[in-house]
Amino acid sequence: MTWENFRFALFEKAPGALFEHSLIVLITITLAILISVPLGVFLTRPKFKSFGLVTLNLLNILQAIPGLAIIALALPILGLGMKPAVLALLFQSLLPIVKNTIAGLLGVSSDVKEAASGMGMSRRKILLEVEIPLALPIILSGIRTATVYVVSMGTLAALIGAGGLGNLIMGGLSLFRPEYLIVGAGLGAIMAIFLDRVLGHIEYRITPPGM
């Protein structure tokens, strides 16, 4: 281990890798939220409740497939680069958000919903002004779980040329340069902890003051 190698890894390689990694996480989580939250809302509406169990099982299976396998499976179809990586990570991050969205929405007291509906609030209004605000802390906690997951699994994306902190780790492994490995893994860990803290703080802030 040399200081020179360490410095090179940290100041020359890491900024780009960190940027790519952040991009992968951001895209994946944004897509995951856009899919999961509406899906969770949909599955708690009385008409579609019966699909709930099937969908959750399906997502469970998706999450159970190792990320590496999905990346390998997606490779022939989507090719190299960020697309298959995002897809693989997406599959793995849907479940916690959908699950928490459902739990959060079902956790809203039926008395509150009954009173809201009895006052003449439309279903849409009840969803937007009552159910979602009350479920938001739990939904956000699902997003937090998924984010940490994507940050750590995201290192695999380097295997199919998507870049990110995985590049440093893989590079370190193949070149026998532990400095690269330490920098890559260390930054990944710091990023996961940082995002977890930030989202935890937001979760705390958006929890309605009366609760």
Partner: protein, 320 residues
Amino acid sequence: MIELMQITKQYSGQTLPAVDKLSLFIPQGEICVLVGPSGCGKSTTLRMINRMIEPTSGMIKINGENIMNTDSDQLRMGIGYVIQQIGLLPHRTIAENIAIVPRLYKWPKDRIKKRVEELIVMMGLDLEKTWGKYPSQLSGGQMQRVGVARAMAVDPPIMLMDEPFGAVDPIARTHLQDEFLRLQREIKKTIVFVTHDINEAIKMGDKIAIFDAGRLVQFGTPEEILTNPINNFVEKFIGHDRVVKKLNLFRAEEVMQPVGRDMRKNEFKVFVQTTTSLPDALSLLLEYDVDYLGILKGEELCGILSFKDIRKHVYRKEGE
């Protein structure tokens, strides 16, 4: 006024209907109490009036208009609704909770603010201390007041109240009932009130509808029901102390013998006010072991009440 015509609610998978061919007429400006054991269909009936539950057959008219012709959200906005669990939105302040229906009606902000303040004061709550608080910071009794205030926000002519005072302790309940009755004398709403407590029904109701197993068993004023229970079920439901309960309906001034100026205060040992209820007066007669009470209006002696007067009154009413 509210008319229920041959209303039936049959839940799928149940052999007996929850409400069976029920007809009921609730006149304007009165409190009609639906009372009965749990599962008798009283809450179901109430909830059909604002279409929280839709009847299987039959028709409900409000002021002559079939409620099925109105959009259900519009209908509910125009009917005050209070439930036992209150259901205040926990993430909204008290002021915001009360403002929900006015906001649905898109009232201008300053009008909403004025109305909210008016209601908080009307409910006997401290305006400064209450309006910015969250429901979890209030006591059960205070929350129930906010629930009633919220239901009255746009001054709806009809209010539906499902065991509104059921979740508070007996002392707070008596207090809320008294205040609500006083308020009702001013606002004269048409109120459908559900309870399982016959004493509350007798106290609150201008009319009482006694339910059993989805059917209306007896409908009438509290006095009619206490005097002439129609069958064994009603008799058992109102209890063996119905004569004493009936005393609750009267105040001392209605039963006393008026006295002239020749009577002096010092001829009496015990005094009560004209507004004292008969059970209280009776209790005092027994407690002090006296034959008669002096009845005061303010400071002035205006009547005399003896045990015989009470007994005569009970039997006279019984015979009518």
